[in-house]
């Protein structure tokens, strides 16, 4: 076998083996399983890097491991499509996974589900790798759901907590709603093109009628909406913070939730041939970005703030892919993976230090107690706010600049406002948690996390600083753009550039917005120039709306969940038991009634028997007579 093919299949094999090992023999390994699991993922990472260079210096390839489902004309194999997009994703996924694995050894120490945790984490890595490298939609869908399952099981990792298992279930079901659309999209695609292989699908798409393409694209996008937590299916992601924090870092920030963006980038042919669908992507992305940031403004749970920020940032990515700037989207995906992973890990470190405390109101002045954590957190925060030279600056600017230059001004304005809000809420978090007076009761035991946790944080922080430079020179000349763009050359350019505003002007505006947000946070929470309570009361309706997450959960509950449950109960208790089964039992009862009547004929009276007999005889004669 060719070396690169061997490498390709070894990459998923390691985590798969890990899952299997820890799942079955976990209890014999105990603490060791964490190290070995990390080692497995690290091995995958190293192989991914090798593969990256192989692909970077040669070209992509596809390979089929074995035929999987062949039924009639339907053919799908377990096969990989290795191109630049997938190797970038591979390196990102395995890289961050490795770090999170290492981090988890410290974070999960002493948990009784230690090996179970690593088992499922490995399974997740495996599924994510397969999702990234798959070369047909069926395989993609399989691992699309598989990562959802891993997310489900890891969110509900502490299953004794009702909230945790509820959150897991919610994540799974909401994802399923999106997957429903995704599945229908696949069906339609298959019916239209008679194939699910990327190459053949893409070859067929240009000749497909536009409205069909649009429907397919929208349905596929529905899957992305679910997976990548976009409006209106984002509701599971904040709840998903019930899981262990490294899981949030890996799955709900860096990798799985970005699968939707990856998917649209992967199917750029379909989306670019349907401007309408792309517009929908843009609109949903823009709205989600703003909306999530708006909610994040007033939350007090640090993980939830970061979760809303993730939703918001995913909105940026969708804005990018929605206007056809796939490289910008992927670039933001990568940089976001790094800094958001970092933010979550540091948040986890904070929790670890505060023995699980999440409420911002009970924190303060942690900077002195946990310096590494604080510094890395601030790095992450700066990256998120888009302050140069951190990675967020480059990637977010690439997105916003493209939006502006392609003429989507309204989206651009929203994006900038969102950037402002982003900077505000993340620095509100930083200022409240790490600065100000320490809260006496909570911070007594506050301590820095062990090195096994801090080292991955530091590594990520370093990357958060340097990875942005892949975007140099900014705009469509960058290293990253040039590297990746070859993969998107099939795309139909439905949104050409209409402006040629220089990048530095746009960047300046962005940086200004970011700084303004930070300054506002500074004024409010460090300088205490304004009383936050007063602002609260001024904007009371807005504040309440934001604080209660726009009541979306309640609306869903009231409008959908409750009526449906009542309806289902009605179906069971009335339709099933009363109507259908009632009819069946009613027939039986009717027969019993007939039986009682029939037995009355047989009343034991001889004269009535004689009568029956003679009536019978007369009736037979009569029958012939009237015939």
């Amino acid at each position: 076998m060719d070396l690169k093919i061997l490498i390709t299949w070894l990459i998923p094999l390691f985590p798969l083996a890990g899952w299997f090992l820890w799942g079955i023999f976990g209890k014999y390994f105990k603490g060791l399983s964490g190290y070995i699991a990390s080692g497995f993922v690290a091995a995958s990472f190293i192989l991914s890097v090798i593969l990256f260079f192989i692909v970077a210096y040669s070209h992509g390839f596809t390979d089929t491991l074995y035929p999987w489902v062949y039924a009639g004309i339907f053919k799908a194999g377990v096969s990989a499509d290795i191109d630049r997009l997938s190797v970038i994703m591979l390196v990102m996924v395995t890289g961050i996974s490795t770090l999170v694995h290492v981090y988890s050894i410290g974070y999960m120490k002493g948990d009784k589900g230690f090996s179970r945790y690593f088992s499922f984490l490995n399974l997740f890595v495996f599924s994510m790798i397969m999702l990234v490298i798959s070369n047909n939609l069926l395989l993609l869908y399989v691992f699309w759901e598989a990562v959802g399952f891993c997310s489900y099981i890891l969110i509900g990792f502490w299953y004794e907590r009702k909230s945790a298992s509820d959150a897991g279930k919610k994540a799974f079901i909401v994802n399923r709603i999106g997957d429903f659309g995704f599945a229908v999209g696949i069906f339609l695609l298959f019916v239209t093109t008679k194939t699910l292989n990327y190459e053949t699908v893409f070859a067929a798409i240009p000749s497909v009628p536009a409205y069909t393409t649009t429907i397919i694209a929208l349905l596929l996008f529905a899957g992305a909406v679910g997976k990548s937590a976009q409006f209106p299916l984002y509701i599971w992601l904040p709840d998903a913070m019930e899981g262990p924090t490294p899981v949030s870092a890996l799955i709900h920030a860096a990798t799985m939730v970005t699968a939707g963006v990856y998917m649209i980038a992967r199917f750029h042919v379909i989306f670019s041939y349907s401007p309408a669908a792309s517009e929908v992507v843009l609109i949903i992305g823009t709205f989600t970005a703003f909306f999530a940031a708006f909610i994040a403004l007033t939350q007090f749970d640090i993980k939830r703030i970061i979760a809303y920020s993730t939703i918001s940032q995913l909105g940026y990515m969708f804005m990018a892919v929605g206007i056809g700037s796939y490289t910008a989207g992927i670039f933001h995906l990568i940089s976001h993976a790094v800094f958001k992973g970092l933010l979550f890990l540091t948040a986890g470190s904070v929790m670890h230090g505060l023995s699980g405390e999440l409420d911002l109101r009970k924190m303060g002045g942690l900077y002195s107690k946990m310096k590494t954590t604080a510094v890395t957190f601030i790095v992450g925060g700066l990256a998120l706010s888009g302050i140069p030279p951190f990675s967020g600056f480059f990637s977010k600017d690439a997105v916003l600049a493209d939006i502006y230059n392609k003429g989507f001004y309204f989206a651009w304005i929203i994006g900038e406002i969102t950037a402002l809000m982003t900077a505000f809420y993340i620095f509100r978090l930083i200022f409240l948690a790490f600065f100000g007076e320490p809260k006496p009761d909570q911070n007594k035991h506050a301590h820095e996390s062990p090195q096994i946790m801090t080292i991955p944080m530091i590594i990520l922080a370093v990357f958060a600083v340097i990875i942005g430079f892949l975007g140099i020179p900014p705009f469509n000349d960058s290293l990253f753009y040039n590297f990746l763009h070859t993969d998107f050359k099939n795309a139909y350019n439905f949104a050409p550039f209409v402006n040629n505003t220089p990048w530095y002007i746009l960047s300046l505006i962005s940086v200004f917005a970011g700084l303004l947000g930070i300054y506002a946070a500074y004024l409010l929470y460090i300088k205490k120039a304004f009383d936050p309570e007063r602002i609260k009361s001024i904007f009371k309706p807005v504040y309440v709306l934001s604080y209660n997450k726009v009541y979306i959960d309640e609306i869903y509950n009231f409008l959908i969940v409750k009526p449906l449950l009542v309806f289902f109960d009605f179906l069971w208790k009335v339709i099933d038991v009363k109507v259908i089964d009632g009819a069946v039992n009613g027939i039986a009862l009717a027969f019993a009634g007939f039986s009682a009547k029939a037995r009355r004929i047989q009343n034991g009276m001889l004269m009535s028997y004689i009568l029956t007999l003679s009536i019978g005889a007369a009736a037979l004669l009569l029958y012939y007579f009237i015939r």
Partner: protein, 514 residues
């Protein structure tokens, strides 16, 4: 060995009967021997059945392991056995599930053990016979008598309203199958009138030309028999009762094998015999199937009894299978057949787990459980795998079947398929919710504190099923490549017949016009 392979089907059919005779001399009191010996014999049967798989020739739709002897020449009935890719797997499923359910009932069945094992083995004979029979009368013989052992199993070892359920089960299915018998007799007579060939050989009956109007009537007759067995939506009410009250082994067999007979009947009899009617009525059947999918799922969501929930989920799953079968594209029919196996495996496993929970807690109410995961990690793991397979999680068996069904049906019935697809959401809702309430959260019931994990016997019981879930999920080709030629032949056959009838009628109409 040659003899063994040549008469393998007969050996499979009659080996359980022989086993019964081996078991008869055993004293009633010797429950241990009875249990072990019967389980061993069913294992031997299963191993025998594996020979079918080994010696099965793949790339052909032709019937294999054919045996044909005169039986009742006066009716044109013969002892005619043979299997194709579809019945092959259903027979394997039968032998496997019989073994598993015998193994699973060591703890559940406490009294009348001898009667129980004898009835189970008897049931096995009839189930295999039904799948192997290629003669309509022989088929019907096996099909109908099957009710009786099942009836005893539900009625004698069941719980709660067992007698009501057992009687309902028998009467419901009996009425359907008697109407079906009418249809079969009618076709038989019609074939005789046309060709003068007095035969119940299904392969020859396929050539009967029946006008469209008659086809519709006959199809409805056959439909009733098969649809009740499946059970399709408005005919399903026997199922929750029977499943709920039956002992674990009974539920496993009922869900795992008996429900398959309806679909098998459609596949082998109703559709090929009456292709035009099947084409004409397929939208209605599919609508019923789709209603069943949603209805079963909806009602499952609000169930309070574990077994009843699983039972209603069967209604939902069988709806998918009907959708696939009647969409009549190669992909969807392949999927349906595969899904038959999957449903047998997963639902069988689910019932086993419900049985294990019941054995330990003596309740089936969902609210009485909670936090079991803490006490029984192995059980939780396997249970979860089964639940996920039932949900249709990719990588497990349920997904492949459902996906093939849906993708195959989409072409002809896009709207209905979309509605059906939404069933996968609700499957996740009711199963995961159930799983959460039973296994997760904190322990509320003090009885759960002493919950034991699975023992070795139970693990052995479950392991083959879980292994199959993964095998079909990851590598379904050994199954699909055997099913596919049969299905393709099935489709070409009904298309051919359909066209022939259509042309004949057109010809007639043309002549009458002229």
């Amino acid at each position: 060995m040659d003899f063994f392979i040549k008469y393998l089907l007969s050996i499979l059919i009659f080996f359980p009967v022989v086993s019964i005779f081996l078991l008869l001399p055993v004293n009633k009191k010797n429950e241990g021997i009875l249990r072990n010996f019967s389980t061993f014999l069913s294992l031997v049967e299963f191993i025998f059945s594996l020979y079918l798989f080994i010696y099965f020739k793949q790339n052909t739709y032709k019937f294999q392991f054919v045996e044909k002897f005169n039986w009742i020449p006066s009716f044109g009935a013969s002892y005619f056995l043979g299997i194709d890719g579809v019945s092959l797997f259903l027979i394997l499923l039968t032998t496997l599930l019989t073994f598993i359910s015998l193994l699973s009932s060591y703890r559940y069945i406490k009294e009348h053990v001898k009667e129980f094992v004898i009835l189970m083995l008897l049931l096995e004979t009839f189930m295999i016979g039904t799948f192997a029979a290629l003669d309509v009368l022989l088929f019907y013989l096996f099909w109908e008598f099957m009710l009786i052992p099942m009836y005893f199993i539900i009625g004698m070892w069941g719980t709660g309203k067992r007698i009501y359920s057992a009687v309902k089960f028998v009467l419901y299915t009996l009425s359907g199958s008697l109407i079906m018998l009418f249809g079969l007799i009618y076709i038989f007579i019609m074939h005789y009138d046309q060709t003068g060939d007095f035969t119940f050989n299904i392969l020859r009956l396929y050539n009967t030309h029946i006008s469209n109007g008659f086809q519709l009537i006959l199809f409805i007759a056959l439909f009733l028999g098969f649809a009740i067995k499946i059970p399709l939506f408005p005919f399903h009410t026997w199922l929750p009762d029977a499943h709920t009250e039956a002992p674990t082994a009974g539920s496993v067999i009922l869900a795992g094998v008996l429900l398959k007979f309806g679909v098998y009947g459609f596949f082998r009899f109703a559709i090929p015999l009456l292709p035009s009617a099947a084409f004409a009525l397929s939208p209605f059947v599919i609508i019923l199937g789709v209603i069943g999918i949603l209805y079963g799922a909806f009602v499952s969501i609000v169930q309070k009894d574990l077994k009843r929930l699983v039972a209603f989920s069967s209604v939902s799953h069988m709806g998918f299978i009907m959708l696939g079968l009647f969409a009549m594209s190669a992909i969807s029919v392949d999927g349906s057949i595969l899904q038959l196996l999957n449903h047998g495996i997963t639902t069988g496993a689910l019932f086993l787990f419900v049985g294990m929970l019941y054995e330990r807690m003596h309740t089936r109410q969902i609210k009485d459980f909670g936090g079991i995961a803490k006490k029984a990690p192995i059980l939780t793991t396997f249970f979860m795998i089964s639940v996920l397979a039932s949900v249709g999680l990719p990588g497990l068996n349920g997904f492949i079947g459902e996906f093939l069904i849906l993708i195959g049906s989409f072409h002809s019935y896009p709207v209905l398929t979309i509605i059906a697809t939404s069933g996968i959401i609700f499957a996740a809702v009711y199963l995961l919710w159930m799983f959460q309430r039973v296994m997760f959260q904190d322990i509320t019931n003090p009885a759960a504190e002493s919950f034991e994990d699975m023992n070795l016997r139970e693990i052995i019981t479950i392991l083959p099923l879980v292994a199959l879930m993964f095998l079909i999920g990851f590598y379904p080709m050994p199954f699909l490549e055997r099913i596919d030629p049969t299905v393709l032949h099935f489709l070409s056959m009904i298309n051919h017949h359909h066209k022939a009838v259509y042309n004949a009628i057109k010809l007639k109409a043309g002549l009458s016009n002229a």
